[in-house]
Symmetry: C2
Amino acid sequence: MSTGNFKHDLFSQFARVAKALSNGYRLELLEFLAQGERSVDALAQVSGLTVANTSQHLQLLRQAGLVINRKAGHKVYYRLSGMDVSALLGSLREVAERHLADVDRLVDDYLKVKDSLEPVPAAQLLERVRDGLVTVLDVRPPEEYAAGHLPGAINIPLAELEQQLNEFDPSQEIVAYCRGPHCVLAFDAVAKLRERGVKARRLDGGLPEWRMEGFPVESSST
Amino acid sequence: MSTGNFKHDLFSQFARVAKALSNGYRLELLEFLAQGERSVDALAQVSGLTVANTSQHLQLLRQAGLVINRKAGHKVYYRLSGMDVSALLGSLREVAERHLADVDRLVDDYLKVKDSLEPVPAAQLLERVRDGLVTVLDVRPPEEYAAGHLPGAINIPLAELEQQLNEFDPSQEIVAYCRGPHCVLAFDAVAKLRERGVKARRLDGGLPEWRMEGFPVESSST
DNA sequence: CATAAATTCAATAGATCTCTTGAATAATTG
DNA sequence: CAATTATTCAAGAGATCTATTGAATTTATG
């Protein structure tokens, strides 16, 4: 593999990492992994890929140094190799959003509410939670919530939000979050809550972004 | 291209950007472009690719939103579409260096001096330059120097350094820089200078990193 | 120890990427 | 306007990537 040309060899290695990111399904897997550790078939389920295919993608990600795995019983659990991987994904997202017209169009089409929903910055949320001014709502599936969530957040997956709407105090502001900046769950949750007259906003970013800022993360009994 | 699945479509777009980065030659081209605007055949020369091939790679980078171009006379000049692209490349570099054993080995093999050369952080260099304590040395080719360099830096390409060694005041510290964190030019320059008893160190990062920190950049008459 | 569950391995067809080659296009120069 | 220069276009061969399939491996369970 080595050509003896330092620069070329080095850049080929960098390219290897980028190549691992160059497939939509692998990026989806990485977003799931950014929520916390998951087994191969859990990932296969959420991504909609076959198990064998998921396994192959995960191995490729591992060879690129983006994820690591551990064996427990007859399951294999994968997770991100570090927070710098989340940072890299964030960088990729940002460049795509800023320079690709197609992304802009997509986001506009699907997240139309976007403009009307000024997101709450992480640092600001932390203050408000301390002052008891807001309720933090985690709308991800329970497994992801269990693997790690914002301190004090309550977990109501989007599907169940409808039923529990009347439990909310309309005077208390709700801040919802999910997997990341483009995760639709939080958008939908805020829309639903507002329809019912509940004051609701969206956190700027999801759990990985919160974690990257160095803020505390709570997790349920493992 | 659209599947109607928002998440999938969005991630496919992100993957498109990563795909553009998934080739060593394209990463090299991007590093050159991070120094400043260049024409297609200038890039073909420095990269060692044929012109047609270089053009193809550049078009792919353009479609991914990473570079933009302008036509002047019968030349086409390409440049990065923004500083966020430099940031993305830095993120990629960092992840690769931290999690890929091959990169570690490469860097160790070729940049052995690394440990003995504590690099100077950009902010620190700025202070020292103001106090007149150091001479800043740009060892890149003159075209890249002309396109932008650190304020007050003198330009002596590595090849010519040998001849001009006795011009340096041995009591004055030299800080050398080139294209980026793994650019060998600065490493070699520092090694050469030290051999001759000149106090020399390396800047932490190259011009793109300096620029990203928001420090001033000087450029010669265009 | 046989069976089941979770993951990986191996082989393959079809799609995509990359480099080369030679021609086509556009702008400049004499 | 013909010749030159810089870039892009188009087509094709060979390499690489991706999803599928079915078998192999590893660990737990009854």
